[in-house]
Symmetry: C2
Subunit: 209 residues, 2 copies
């Protein structure tokens, strides 16, 4: 398999983390989104949506969208349970991640810690909304994790890995996690999983192409 990705991306990290936790190997293609490499003609021919991560199977089939890649890579592993309602609950959390969590927490992180240019007046106004909505999303997670060790069912699933990606670096977007003790304990449980890698480190099973 080939993974097209940008190391600071939490969305790309989801795939890297699951590959590491399941010890699956993959060739790695860095794509510098800040230099527009995800919008190049060559990359758009691979993914018309112009986004990383992108997974390319050995037979050439391509899959975009980080959470769809998690679904694919998790088949047959302990991170995707067989019960269909648990699966639906996992997808509920992953859609929540892309709709209520990532656009607030990851975009704030991008503006404040990655892009490297000052915010416009309207981005400043938007940031206030994103802070409020991002904290609302964290509160939804805290409520669940105060009652159970994992987001769905009895064990760690791709719901946890998908939400961990931008939650554990939420401080980069101005979201202190002090008020969320259950989220912090859950982060520690994920970081203790055998094979865990950090967002800034390429797993040993993933080698530059």
């Amino acid at each position: 398999m080939d993974l097209y990705d940008y190391l600071p991306s939490g969305n790309g990290y989801k795939a890297r983390l699951l590959l590491a936790l399941t010890a699956r190997s993959c060739r790695y293609h860095p794509v510098d989104i800040l230099r527009g490499e995800s919008r190049s003609a060559a990359f758009l021919a691979l993914n018309p949506d112009g986004r990383i991560p992108l997974l390319v199977l050995d037979d050439g089939r391509r899959l975009a969208q980080s959470n769809a890649i998690l679904f694919h890579l998790a088949q047959g592993t302990r991170f995707w349970p067989v019960d269909a309602f648990l699966q639906a609950e996992i997808l509920q959390w992953l859609f929540f991640e892309q709709y209520s969590h990532e656009p607030n927490i990851a975009t704030a992180r991008y503006w404040l810690s990655i892009r490297g240019t000052p915010l416009t007046h309207c981005e400043q106004e938007s940031l206030v909304q994103k802070q409020r909505a991002g904290h609302a999303a964290l509160a939804v997670m805290e409520q669940r994790l105060a009652a159970a060790p994992w987001l769905v069912g009895e064990g760690c699933s791709i719901a946890d890995l998908g939400l961990y990606a931008y939650t554990h670096v939420a401080a980069d977007g101005g979201f202190a996690l002090d008020a969320y003790p259950s989220i912090r304990s859950w982060c520690a449980r994920i970081e203790a999983l055998p094979g865990f890698v950090r967002i800034d480190t390429l797993p040993s099973c993933v080698a530059n192409a």
Copy 2:
């Protein structure tokens, strides 16, 4: 089952449309989001994320997020194929819908046709970005649908139903579909499916609770 929903919502419509196409019955609970009913204490006790649609099974289990509800309701139907890679491709399109399509096209529709109050200066600026990003999302769909009748595989799946919900009313958000002939043909194919219902009509299998 019980469905909590708001009739003009494209996200709610996804569930209603699949129920109609599969002739499954459901009790209907209207939630007026413009009056804040999805943020009431009673509703937040059902869905801490404070959003419709919400599906409640007869045993009390609850499921939020429109595309996770589609996944649950489609199990065992022709709208969810058995091949695992086709399933991953369907989820790719549904995550694309919630990330690249809905926040642009549905939010523009909400601002221009539903909310009923003028746009602020920064919303006007944001609308320009949403028009550009929404057209980019429609172009990705057009490219696929120019080459194939359905978004994934050989038949209509929940990828098509999920994307149809806000695409067919994109004009309400200022997105003319004239430049997208393959999208318009695809809309007509969906509207010809046996059991199809419009967004503004409660299916006969769905009755007010």
